[in-house]
Amino acid sequence: MASSARRFDDGTFVGYARQHVFVTVFGVAVPLLVFACFIGYPILYTIYLSFFEWNGMAPQKKFVGFANYAYLFQDKYFYIALINNAKWLVVSLVFPVSLGFLIAYVMKARLVFAPSLLRTIVFFPVTMSLIAVGLMFLLILNPVFGAFDTLLRSVGLGFLVHEWFGDYRIALYTLAVISGWAFTGMPMIFYFAGLGDVPKETFDAARIEGAGHWRMIRSVALPQLRPVTAIIVMLTLFESLRAFDLIAMLTKGAPFGMTNVLGYLVYMESFWNSRFGYGAALSVVILVIAGSLAAVLLGKVLKGAFDV
């Protein structure tokens, strides 16, 4: 909660600004100006550009109305990327988030030895660049020399060996799981902190009523952690819409665009195919998706979590 010792102002912004010049200039005007120049203006410019045809170089941009959007909605690669984003999101919500919760709970319930060691190990990849993570799994998942397939063969599961990045049916899932591996530490830390904030009495009361771990998770931990879950879902959502690095490093959308996601398609169309107008239209679609999902989440679940 904000607090100020002085309340000379008359409640309006102008009255306040006169009384507090320093705070108004450097605390409000400067950041809003920076925001407007580098975040607000680019968003508006992207929307503007989506109505033009432009190769990124020519001084003249050609106005084409909604042609970019019309093209977009019959572009096969757009739909592939859109569906891939959805798959990526589902994998990200199921694998790292639930596992992160499980690890946090198991550590908090003191069910394992050396809990802080496990926490450190799982959190470490959060600090790694996805380029490095991608390279690591490129080596590990190599079908000939890679450790994973070697392990599969040695335990008699050789039939599971795949071209993990080359098989169009699984390449996207390989990427999403790798991204989940690198991300699990995030939900884990959030849930760990969240569980620490749940009053001890709540768990004690459940125990007296005879709750086991399963009931403890379902009836106490998860309901208490709903705001934390909402924040994690938001984070995961935006992470999955940002998916880019692993694809650029490992598959570049191949095979046949089957590992393309919207965030990478924008880059390809703009900076490789020089179709900046079309790239902008794709960007607007991403913005609309991100914005509407954020609005739904903020409105419904997150009430109060971001309260100032």
């Binding site: 550009l49 003191r110 959190f123 590990i140």
Partner: protein, 288 residues
Amino acid sequence: MSDMAINPAGRGRLLAVLPKLAATALMLVLAAVWLGPLLLIVMTSIKSNAEFLAGPFALPKSPTIQPYIDVWFGLGFGTLLRNSLIYATAGSALAVTLALVPAFALSRMNVPGRKWIFGLLLTGLMLPQQTVLIPLYDTLRTFHLLDTKIGLIIVHGVYGMPLQVLILRGFMTTIPPEIEKAAYVEGATDFQVFWKVILPLSVPGILVGYTLNFIAIWKEFVFGLVFLNSEDNFPVTVGMLKLNSDRYLAVFNLPAAGLVISQLPIVILFILTYRQISGGNLSGAVKG
């Protein structure tokens, strides 16, 4: 945080031990899944070409640092590391500097509409960067900042600001209001309260924010890829793209060594600051 444990109702000895055994087994598997790849990579990076062919699980018999030397000069890691260091150091400094007074204003002052200002700044956190690449590219080109270090530092600083406002505001909120009340009674101005009271008390929060931003810029890839052209300006992430090529993937010890080099500065930072950055500071900031 370790004094609290979740204790379910006991149901006899065996049933009490069973979940513990299952959990420990599960955690061992998880530890292997998370630690295994890292260990294998470090192991591969110190193998000679001949030893690499013995298989991924064969222990290195005569460890060598030759792969490190080869990949260091092959990829020019000296320049790449220096560049990443410049971007991370300067970009984070800019982000924190931009965020300090706003965090003060939004946490300790009754700025009208502060809720809206905060919410607006936070949208910068949620924005997928790919959607603003084209306008930023265009803007940087207009100001002749494309393919310059300054240009990338500015972009990193600006895009780091929202998270810094979130973290620093959360931190400043925890400072008791009595402290600045005393200063105001003595006739201090807003600036004096900020500079002499709040800022010194916020140093731990600033360090956490700076560290997180440093790591974020070290990891960053999209901006570096799009806004830079010359290898002299590449950060580590962009320079490392080359490791995914036939030239480097013939034997895995070179890319493995490159991977270790690229993460080493972060590993050191991680060891030095692990308690601070993983202590739930982020979630604390969100709850504010």
